[in-house]
């Protein structure tokens, strides 16, 4: 029984079709990567899984239950949390308040405020200041921490490395490794292929709303992946 399974997932923005039948499986405890060019449908996929985008009820199965029609806030309660693209911290809230919002749904678990501060010490130092005055990397850590506060079984990470310096990205992926080691299932969406593939066991390559390629990261060479990425 997989933790997450999508069957023939189709998704639309109004009349525009963004996903054309995506089949993805994620086992509990795995870290998988979804890569692809801009507009390939990666974010759309995450939003559909997270419940932010409506789709057919049976198209998404989480924990063996159909959840495609469930709304985002219900999905959080079931254990699916998202670190949205562009961080999207709440400007009116301090760093600590942003983290506390993550715990709004009240799911109990390992991730409490003190543990988040252990994982991200620089957030503890800045807990009382406005969230938007953090640097890009610190904001990303706050966004991850915020999502963790809901003690998710499945954590969806959308373009964590966007706009960040390589050194910062490296630190973030170290933290991701720590999170995965605790048993959280991760789906990582990235345009930076190398980071994503290094962190993951398997990957899916999306191209124009379809799965172009999927395999274990170990088994594939970068050239083949690049071809699939660009649809060559």
């Amino acid at each position: 029984m997989s933790l997450l399974r999508t069957r023939g997932l189709r998704a639309f923005y109004g009349d525009f079709q963004a996903l054309f039948g995506i089949d993805v499986t994620v086992e509990e405890g795995e870290t998988i990567a979804i890569i692809g060019a801009n507009g390939a449908g990666k974010t759309t996929f995450l939003r559909a899984v997270a419940g932010a985008l409506a789709c057919g009820a049976g198209m998404v199965e989480f924990d063996d239950r159909p959840t495609g029609a469930r709304s985002a806030h219900e999905m959080v309660r079931r254990g699916v949390a998202m670190v949205p693209e562009g961080r999207r911290l709440f400007p009116s809230l301090t760093v600590e308040e942003n983290l506390l919002i993550g715990a709004y749904c009240g799911r109990a678990g390992r991730w409490t405020l003190p543990r988040i501060y252990e994982l991200f010490p620089m957030l503890a130092e800045r807990r009382g200041i406005a969230a938007m005055s953090l640097s890009g990397g610190q904001q990303q850590m706050a966004a991850i921490g915020r999502a963790l506060m809901s003690n998710p079984r499945l954590l969806l990470c959308d373009e964590l490395s966007l706009g960040l310096a390589p050194v910062v990205i490296r630190d973030i992926y170290v933290c991701l490794g720590a999170i995965a080691a605790e048993g959280t299932t991760l789906v990582i969406v990235e345009q930076d292929i190398n980071r994503a593939l290094d962190a993951s066991a398997r990957f899916y390559c999306f191209q124009e709303g379809r799965v172009a390629l999927t395999a274990a990261c170990r088994d594939f060479d970068r050239a083949a992946i690049t071809s699939a990425y660009f649809g060559l």
């Binding site: 932010a52 806030h73 400007p91 308040e97 919002i101 915020r146």
Partner: protein
């Protein structure tokens, strides 16, 4: 000299009532970006509910809040959840025109049920009691109204900045989409937001019913006073709304001292002048 001090104090205390009018409007805009054109009519509706309660039970008008507040709270929740939630997120026409329609409906329903007679609730000796402060007689009732406004705003600040639900309101106001991703049920929160706003609308309605006469058509004027207080004080700041109410009250008080028929006009003029000179008000906080 004391003449002018008296005018200033009367005006400032009147501002407390206007701030109470404005709280509901301010909350709805702050949380849901909804400008409720029916807001004034809901204040008047509260006054009529108080009237019915007092007539049915004989209780003191001020005590009728224990009935009016829960009723308006429930009404606010139902109105937002059942109707207004569907107007959000699609541009400004729908919320504005729907609340405009609701305003007309409320006014005419009240007219149908209660006719055009003006009413006022009698609260007994408290209406005319006064205390001497520094040689000036200050009405006890206006002081109570002002204190209510101040306590209400202080309470709301506590709610917004010290509680989990307050955090949720602020987050939803910032970014409703991401708030939903964090587990916040927007539809429920918006409904709760209007319900809370209605608590203060109800209180304002009861106090207004004692302080002055009201009739079914009195809604729009209350809306305008509330609106002027909010704009003068600055969108997004509740304490600013209190200040805005006081500025409005003082302007009206000064106008009224010159000639009674100048009272409301003086308020409008003060509002327009401030609008032109300092459009974001005194304590603006909201990003648009």
């Amino acid at each position: 000299m004391t003449e002018w001090l008296n005018i200033l104090i009367q005006g400032a205390l009147l501002g407390g009532l206007y701030a109470l009018f404005a709280i509901g409007l301010s909350l709805a805009f702050g949380i849901m970006r909804l400008v409720n054109i029916a807001h004034g009519d809901l204040i008047v509706l509260s006054a009529y509910i108080a009237l019915v309660t007092v007539n049915a039970t004989g209780m003191h008008p001020l005590a009728s809040v224990v009935v009016v507040v829960p009723v308006m709270f429930a009404l606010g929740y139902a109105l937002q959840r059942g109707l207004l939630n569907f107007t959000l997120g699609g541009g400004l026409l729908a919320p504005l025109l729907v609340t405009f329609g609701i305003s007309v409906i409320i006014q005419n329903v009240l007219l149908q049920v209660f006719n055009a007679t003006t009413y006022r609730l009698q609260a007994g000796p408290i209406e005319t009691a006064s205390v001497g402060i520094g040689g000036i007689a200050v009405g006890v009732f206006p002081l109570i109204v002002f204190a209510t406004a101040t306590l209400s705003i202080a309470g709301l600040q506590l709610l917004f900045y010290r509680t989990a639900i307050g955090r949720a309101f602020r987050a939803t106001s910032d970014d409703a989409d991401t708030a939903e991703l964090m587990g916040i049920d927007n539809r429920h929160l918006y409904a709760l937001g209007l319900a809370i706003a209605m608590i203060f609308t109800a209180i304002a309605g009861v106090l207004m019913a004692v302080r002055s006469t009201f009739d079914p058509a009195a809604g729009p004027t209350r809306l305008i006073f509330a609106f002027e207080a909010v704009i003068i004080g600055g969108l997004g700041s509740l304490w600013g709304t209190l200040l805005g109410g006081m500025v409005l009250g003082i302007a009206q008080s000064v106008g009224s001292a010159l000639s009674p028929s100048w009272q409301i006009l003086a308020g409008h003029i003060a509002f327009l002048v401030i609008l032109v000179l300092r459009p974001s008000g005194f304590f603006p906080r909201t990003r648009d």
